[in-house]
Amino acid sequence: MMTIEKVMAMLGEMKKGEKALIKSISGADRFVRRRLLDLGIAEGAEVCIKCVLPFGGPVMLESCGQCVGIRRREAFRIEVERV
């Protein structure tokens, strides 16, 4: 149980270069969720944080060779599991 506490996180907390598996995107805005699905970023997909822009700016994710930018606020509504 203790270990689970440690690996679960929100996407928005992750740092540049870290990798994670998407656990749930149902907390994100409907529009963002649909777009992420369109781009193949669904539950179970592995993502890697490519960069985090300053002053609370967007984050850039990579999944299966596809890069996507989303706002930090939305990233904080996506549950992930660090790998």
């Binding site: 963002v32 960069c51 822009l53 002053f55 967007p58 890069c67 996507v68 930018g69 706002r71």
Partner: protein, 668 residues
């Protein structure tokens, strides 16, 4: 035969369209370049190819993605040409499956096989074809490789397909399909299964379509039936998620049979570039530096000397030849004056700036084709968010530096209606290439030492005013709606010289063409107005009709520093096209060359008034073509009038501040 080109955004549909039809439609390396359907004739001279905006699914998220769904439901077509990005097969197949469910004849063009290859992805097109039951042709749309066999395949494939592929959505969905089929009782040609699947996934357009045949309560019952059925089967997801998962599972089996992964070669180039381009600290400075370089090359280092040289040619040898020619044919004094003082001065005065405009367009094309555009949107998002917009709004603005019309069209990719409207309204503040001649002339005359800096200040002013107004509008006239931002970042592509030149030419062509038609006709008219007056022909210019018309406006402009009839007349023509300002001035102050004109201008303007004039030109009214586009895109007379009204107001206000403030500071 009508063939519709369908695929995910940025998969190379338009590149292929251009290749197959020999056209030069707009290609760029970001998602959402094509915003309108385009029709072309295939090289066999028989079939029509229809290029559509890219979509991820047929279930649209925003109104503008609905274009494709509406096309699907309402317009006749005989065949689908589905373009897949081989390097992103899984995600592309979601759309393909929806197309297959529709049951129309379909050919798949497997594009970007070169990119996939570089990433260590190999796709067996024969296996893919066998899995799906439709022909698959590998192509590289960028170079044209494979396009001939694709064209052949399209011509050969006309009959019904034998689609071997079907996703198993489970018994509940199949039961719903059967029920829907019964209710429709053959009243539409569109397959019931496709309608059922789209409806269950929440496609509003399909729901509305079904309402033509079936009552709303019956539809809701159908939906509830499937939802309860799934719940009893122990499905926890929403219906939409469930359908997505079922499709993904089916895709996995296809991919397993047709895709081979070998080791990709090291870190992709894109990733290396992005380490700097989207770097936390370097991102914005790098963008500004690139803008500065583009700017200096256009206005100072390269463009300026070229324009000067061209000016010398036009005012020197070209004018000499024309006057020699006129003398040889014994032209009357009137014709002589019309051609030399009207047309050569008016049109030539604009053509002089062709080199600078082409350099600017070259850089914009480079930006579009490389993939940097989407990065700029990402890097600028934080700033744009503060102004009540999102980073994607920066793309129309950048394009607007070339010409506001395509810039405003590009705003269609912005998903939220409020942000899109804001972008449409504010893009005209971006200093387009037609305003460039005015700056070049005035900055050269009054601020020769630091002309590039002065012009740069105007471009920056345009952006700053746009951002401030965005904020003001979004808390007053355009309240509400949360701002959203998801952007796809395509891999960088090394621009090809030929493609770059083509797209530079396609953009710059408009400028040259306008000079030859619109500006030409305008010059004739302006010259006539300056030649004739209440006192007859060949009056002194101050007594001409032009002076009378311009004089009406002169008093209004007096408080902002240029209360002359000359300024009034040129600003009036500037509404038709911004280049007209320069051609009008050239005719009014008719002088043999640019240098003399600059000397003459300094008698009519003080440097402060000149700057105020440039600020006014930057901001005042969108040109006629831009206003027409705003009307077309917003579909509202009110917003079009608003865009003209606020621009005039803000232009006057800022010029007033500049001029009166400057005078108080003792600069005049």
């Amino acid at each position: 035969m009508d063939i519709a080109l369908i695929g995910n955004p940025n998969t190379g549909k338009t590149s292929l369209f251009n290749n197959l039809t020999g056209s030069y439609e707009y290609v760029g390396n970001w998602s959402g370049v094509t915003v309108e359907k385009k029709v072309g004739i295939l090289k066999n001279q028989r079939d029509q190819l229809i290029d559509l905006p890219g979509v991820y699914t047929l279930n649209p998220l925003s109104k503008d993605e609905g274009v494709v769904t509406i096309f699907f439901l309402n317009e006749p077509f005989d065949m689908l040409l589905n373009i897949l990005d081989a390097s992103q097969l899984r995600r592309n197949l979601h759309l393909t499956i929806q197309l297959l469910e529709f049951g129309a004849p379909i050919v798949i063009g497997l594009n970007m096989v070169d990119v996939a290859g570089n990433r260590g992805i190999k796709i067996d097109s024969r296996n893919l074809s066998a899995c799906l039951g439709v022909p698959v042709v590998p192509v590289v749309a960028r170079t044209g490789k494979g396009c001939d066999s694709l064209a052949e395949m399209i011509s050969a494939e006309a009959g019904q397909p034998d689609i071997a592929f079907e996703v198993d959505y489970g018994p509940a969905v199949e039961k719903a399909t059967a029920a829907l089929k019964e209710k429709l009782a053959g009243r539409t040609k569109i397959p019931a299964r496709w309608l059922a699947i789209q409806f269950l996934e929440g496609n509003q357009y399909v729901r509305e379509f079904l309402l033509n045949f079936i009552g709303g309560s019956e539809l809701n019952e159908l939906l509830e039936f499937v939802e309860t059925q799934l719940k009893t089967d122990g499905v926890k997801e929403t219906l939409e998620q469930y359908m997505y998962r079922k499709r993904s599972e089916a895709i996995e089996t296809v991919v397993a049979r047709s895709m081979v992964r070998t080791e990709g070669a090291g870190t992709p180039l894109s990733e290396k570039i992005d380490r700097i381009a989207t770097n936390k600290i370097l991102g914005i400075p790098l963008f500004l530096l690139l803008m500065y370089l583009m700017f200096m090359l256009t206005f100072d280092w390269l463009g300026f000397p070229l324009s000067d040289a061209l000016d010398a040619v036009i005012t020197g040898p070209v004018t000499d030849w024309i006057s020699a020619g006129l003398a040889a044919v014994g032209a009357s004094e009137f014709i002589n004056a019309l051609i030399l003082d009207g047309i050569v001065a008016g049109v030539g005065g604009v053509l002089v700036f062709v080199p600078q405009i082409f350099i600017l367009f070259f850089f914009i094309s480079l930006l579009e084709d490389s993939g940097y555009m989407a990065r700029v949107a990402l890097v600028m998002d934080r700033v744009m968010e503060a102004a009540g917009l999102n980073g994607k709004a920066f793309i129309p603005m950048m394009i607007g530096f070339g010409c506001n019309v395509p810039g405003i069209m590009a705003a269609r990719t912005i998903e939220t209606p409020k942000e899109r409207l804001l972008t449409i309204l504010l893009t005209p503040l971006m200093s387009c290439s037609a305003r460039l001649p005015v700056y070049a002339l005035f900055a050269g005359a009054f601020f020769a030492g630091d002309k590039a800096l002065i012009v740069l200040s105007l471009y920056v002013l345009g952006i700053v005013v746009a951002l401030i107004l965005a904020k003001i509008f979004s808390i007053t006239v355009l309240k509400g709606e949360t701002s959203l931002f998801v952007i796809e970042l395509p891999p960088y592509r090394v621009p090809q010289i030929q493609a770059l030149w083509r797209s530079t030419w396609e953009k710059g062509k408009g400028f040259v063409k306008k000079a030859g038609t619109f500006i030409f006709a305008g010059s004739v008219l302006i010259w006539l107005l300056s030649y004739a007056g209440p006192g007859g022909l060949k009056v002194p210019m101050d007594d001409s009709y032009l002076a009378m018309i311009g004089g009406i406006f002169a008093p209004i402009f007096a408080p902002i520093g240029f209360g002359t009839w000359q300024a009034g007349a040129s600003l009036l023509t500037g509404f038709l096209a911004k280049e007209s300002i320069i051609s009008t001035m050239n005719i009014i102050y008719f002088v043999p060359d640019e240098a003399t004109l600059q000397g003459l201008l300094s008698q009519h303007f003080t440097p402060l008034a000149a700057y105020s004039f440039m600020v006014f030109i930057l901001l005042y009214v969108p040109c006629l073509a831009t206003a027409a586009t705003i009307y077309k895109e917003t579909g509202s007379r009110r917003w079009t009038a608003f865009s003209i009204g606020y621009a005039l107001l803000i232009a006057y206000l800022l010029s007033f501040i500049v001029y009166q403030g400057g005078k108080l500071a003792g600069w005049a």
